[in-house]
Amino acid sequence: MAPLFSRSWPLALRVSVQHARVFPLNFYFDQFVTGLASACSLFLVASGLSIIFGVTRIVNFAHGAFYMLGAYIGFTLTEQFSGAFGFWGAILLAAIVVAAIGTLIEIILLRRIYDAPELFQLLATFGVTLIVEDLALLIWGPNELLGPRAPGLKGAIDLFGLPFPTYDLLLIALGPLVLGLLWLLFRRTTWGVLVRAATQDREMVAALGVNQKWLFTSVFALGVFLAALGGALELPRQSANHTMDLQVITEVLVVVVIGGLGNVLGTFLAAIIVSELNAFGILVFPKISIVLVFLVMALVLIVRPWGLLGRAEAAARAAGGAAILRWRPLAARGRLAVVLALAVLALAPLAVGDYYLTVATEVLIFVLFAASLHFLIGAGGLVSFGHAAYFGLGSYGAALALKQFGLGMEAALIAGPLLGLAGAILFGWFCVRLSGVYFAMLTLAFAQIAWSVAYQWSDVTGGDNGLLGIWPSAWAAAPAHFYWLTLALVAAGIAALRMILFSPFGYSLRALRDSELRAEAIGLERRRIQWISFAIAGGFAALAGALYAFLKGSVFPDNLGIPLSIDGLVMVLLGGVDTVSGGIVGAALYRSLSIWIISHTDYSKLALGLLIVVLVVLFPKGVVGAFESWRARRAPRTGGESS
């Protein structure tokens, strides 16, 4: 029993302080200026994201991909042209080329889905990111590409007795310059006035007869231009490589949120704060970088729920009129169909082999995971970007119960969900104080903090080498047995979620989503109801995570990671947020397809990305939503229904 407590704290928390030393003043100054250079390069990329979000409300996940493209195209162009003129021309041209690509994507793809639920654009841009990743691999090959240094700015100058890169000085000048230019653009031009007006009130601008389409397109182009410029300007500092996009996207998203969404000055301040805290933080805590931005974001959001300079978001979405599908429990025929489907699933081991049973088990686990997330997003309107945290806590809870405490699988399957539940109760308490994108980003911050603890606390969690040997008890070890166990628990979990969904509690949760004002007026306690819902969703996600640990036999920090949280979102959105069964269908569809695609293609990201983009365009209400709308059109009585 004892080891868990007698062992050391996670390295992230442990005070692994560098030898305390007092440095001469110029050292600190140097560190400060170094932080400033990082801040400016961060700001260039983040400003574009901020502008795009401010006007179009798109969380542009592809921003990192455009940044990467800027670097790659910049590399190719700087190889073509030489000299100072050639170099800077190439940088600028690269940004323009990428901006053109971005514009094209906006016109072809995003314009079709502006009316879809807000997050659908996130899903589309996620698909674009996947496509760009594989295309970059096809075009530029697998190797890192080192571009030239900037002509005339190759060396260092003496800054208070220490060498400082001249190129960094340029970046330090460029940051405020871009900030100033953006300020002028937004304050002193008609276009800027319209953009600002659109940031405040989209409908109003549309009512004034402004062509909103082209306003959005131009804003998107500007944002992409800044991303690509930021990427191309990195060439003298780093190689163009395939990890640039994901490496930058979370960081800039965090910076934008800390600053206050859509507020460019806030973004600038946030970039400086984050970079300086990092520059000085590593002097004292050399391991702080891995979690720093998320810690800062969590603290800022807890103190200032709309970021440093942000303002309260306008009411999230005016629930869109007649298009809304009605949520109904299953009627008698539907229940019969479910019973039949369960019977067929239960008989599956008689017909298929071990591999497909294991795949089916995995799909079932993700069905429960997605259903729990859908409970939050669909019923509660609470979009979580960090739902994997609870899935992962469930995995670790189960694994630790088995490994550290020597409990059996049965007890571990209880311990895991309990740990996830505890995490959700703790984090949820803070999260439900926020709303909208800020809520989403705080969930992300907590997920990343949990991830970094799992990643760093090697003594207990095994760090990124994970925990191994998490296999089921003998009676459940055969793939068919574990499949039946999973089927039973997943079916029970989903039945419980649906029961809650259609109970007074579930109605209250939906009421809060539909109209907070009205819900408060009739006496509903918003925070408590949302908090408990958060905990419920976390608990079921953790059950899925605990099952997953025993399916895979091992647990890794990946189980808490951003990619898994994104997978969850993709499943829910593909299935359909505004439908009762969207999460379930979306998970079954997406997980099966992705397992198949990864197993059968060399360019799985390209295939998966194309698939997502196609599905997004074809089914802007999700697959289930499209099906139900179609059914409603066939029987045009009382609008759509969803069961």
Binding site: Q18, L137, P142, P163, I282, G466, G553, I598, S604, V614
Partner: protein, 402 residues
């Protein structure tokens, strides 16, 4: 109409991408399952794939193993341990492979190794470096080809001990690989040189190094020598910042893996001179077996091999040797055959030790230098891995005995 044509074109694209690894139909084949992080780490795994494909062609050209053709079913794990387990399961339960091979990342290697133990299927880990895979988490079914973290550290510590430097600082990625590399290097070097002081450390997150700040922070601790475990894009960033800020000037630097073409080549004219590194100087290797390999590789691909190519090539050669020796595809017989087996590789003959299932494949240690605007290794020696591994007796204490 519009809708259906869109679906159709999507399907065509997907179908076009599919099927490079469709299982063959020939009856008389032995199937090997291969998993690696092709989409997550193409710079290493692409040369690796070329390496094992070359070996496969050679083996089958000579009639395969025991008159049966070898077939490799290759899967991508996307850099995720959980997906690797899914793929391993498909290979074992569905495709009927007789053994598993591959993997790059340590955590994926460990996940597959644990799967192999559970399913009692031999697994030849190609690239993961973690010591755990053969020691603390070692198991009967898992073997590892590449020299482990410990061996790399031991080779470098041996050279580092000869340096006059007394004050050392370390820069390593903040995860298990970096942590254990630093820990082992520190331990081994401090044993040889008790006078050494460790004055500073930096742990940038993998893939997200803030190179300027890290370089400054290390410079402030005024070390006489620096250990660099950082690799890949982070290394490029660190080297550029370090060069500009004079971090490496008048300091000795020891670099893990920095001499591997995968990591050295991108540095181009920025390659810092005089770093003591492990790596693979492909055009300076004098081992006779290597010449044949080099020629065959260049003939086939019109490109030079990276270290990944050697690893991929040797992995498949080792797999074939094990199959040939076992004269069976039974898991237990394969494991018995693999224990202590001798295999010819481009770096000469190696053996897989019976005691810990680690191969004695070695690594080259040398110094970095700049030649015609490119990074190269000079003063190179090949260090046999076997000489740097703990004895069979010592290993017993490191491995779970069951």
């Amino acid at each position: 109409m519009k809708t259906s044509s869109a679906i159709f074109s999507a399907l065509v694209v997907i179908a076009g991408l599919a099927g490079s690894s469709a299982p063959g139909v020939a009856q008389e084949t032995i199937k090997i399952g291969e998993i690696n992080s092709y989409s997550a780490l193409p710079s290493f795994t692409e040369p690796y794939r070329k390496g094992w494909q070359l070996a496969l062609d050679e083996i089958n050209a000579k009639g395969g193993v025991d008159g049966k053709k070898l077939e490799v079913i290759s899967k991508d794990d996307g850099g995720k341990p959980a997906d690797a387990v899914t793929q391993a399961n498909e290979l074992v339960s569905n495709d009927g492979v007789v053994m598993l091979a591959g993997t790059f990342f340590s955590n994926i290697g460990l996940a597959v190794s644990d799967f192999a133990k559970q399913k009692k299927i031999p697994f030849l880990a190609a690239e993961p470096l973690t010591d755990a895979i053969t020691w603390s988490k070692g198991n009967r079914y898992t073997f590892r080809l590449r020299p482990a973290n410990y061996e790399q550290a031991a080779m470098l510590a041996e050279q580092a001990a000869k340096l006059p430097a007394k004050k050392w600082a370390t820069i390593a990625p903040n995860y298990e690989y970096g942590q254990s590399a630093v820990a082992v290097f520190k331990k081994l070097l401090s044993e040889k040189r008790p006078d050494i002081q460790w004055v500073g450390e930096q742990w940038p997150p993998q893939g997200k190094i803030d190179a300027g700040a890290v370089a400054e922070a290390i410079a402030k601790t005024e070390p006489e020598a620096i250990l660099v475990v950082t690799f890949g894009p982070d290394l490029v960033k660190l080297v550029r910042e370090g060069n500009t800020r004079g971090l490496f000037k008048d300091r000795s630097v020891v670099g893990f893996l920095t001499g591997e073409p995968e990591y050295l080549d991108p540095l181009k004219d920025e390659t810092p001179e005089g770093w003591i590194v492990t790596g693979y100087p492909w055009n300076a290797v004098t081992i006779p077996d290597h010449a044949a390999f080099l020629k065959a590789y260049q003939d086939k691909y019109n490109d030079y091999p990276r270290l990944g190519s050697v690893v991929g090539y040797s992995t498949l050669k080792a797999a074939a040797a094990i199959l040939a020796k076992a004269k069976s595809t039974d898991s237990e017989k394969l494991v018995d055959a693999a224990e202590g087996i001798a295999v010819d590789t481009p770096f000469g003959p190696i053996t897989f030790r019976k005691s810990d299932h680690q191969s004695t494949l070695g690594a080259f240690v040398g110094k970095t230098a700049l030649k015609d605007g490119k990074g190269v290794m000079v003063d190179v020696t090949y260090n046999d891995g076997g000489k740097y591994l703990p004895s069979d007796e010592d290993v017993k204490a490191l491995r779970p005995q069951n």
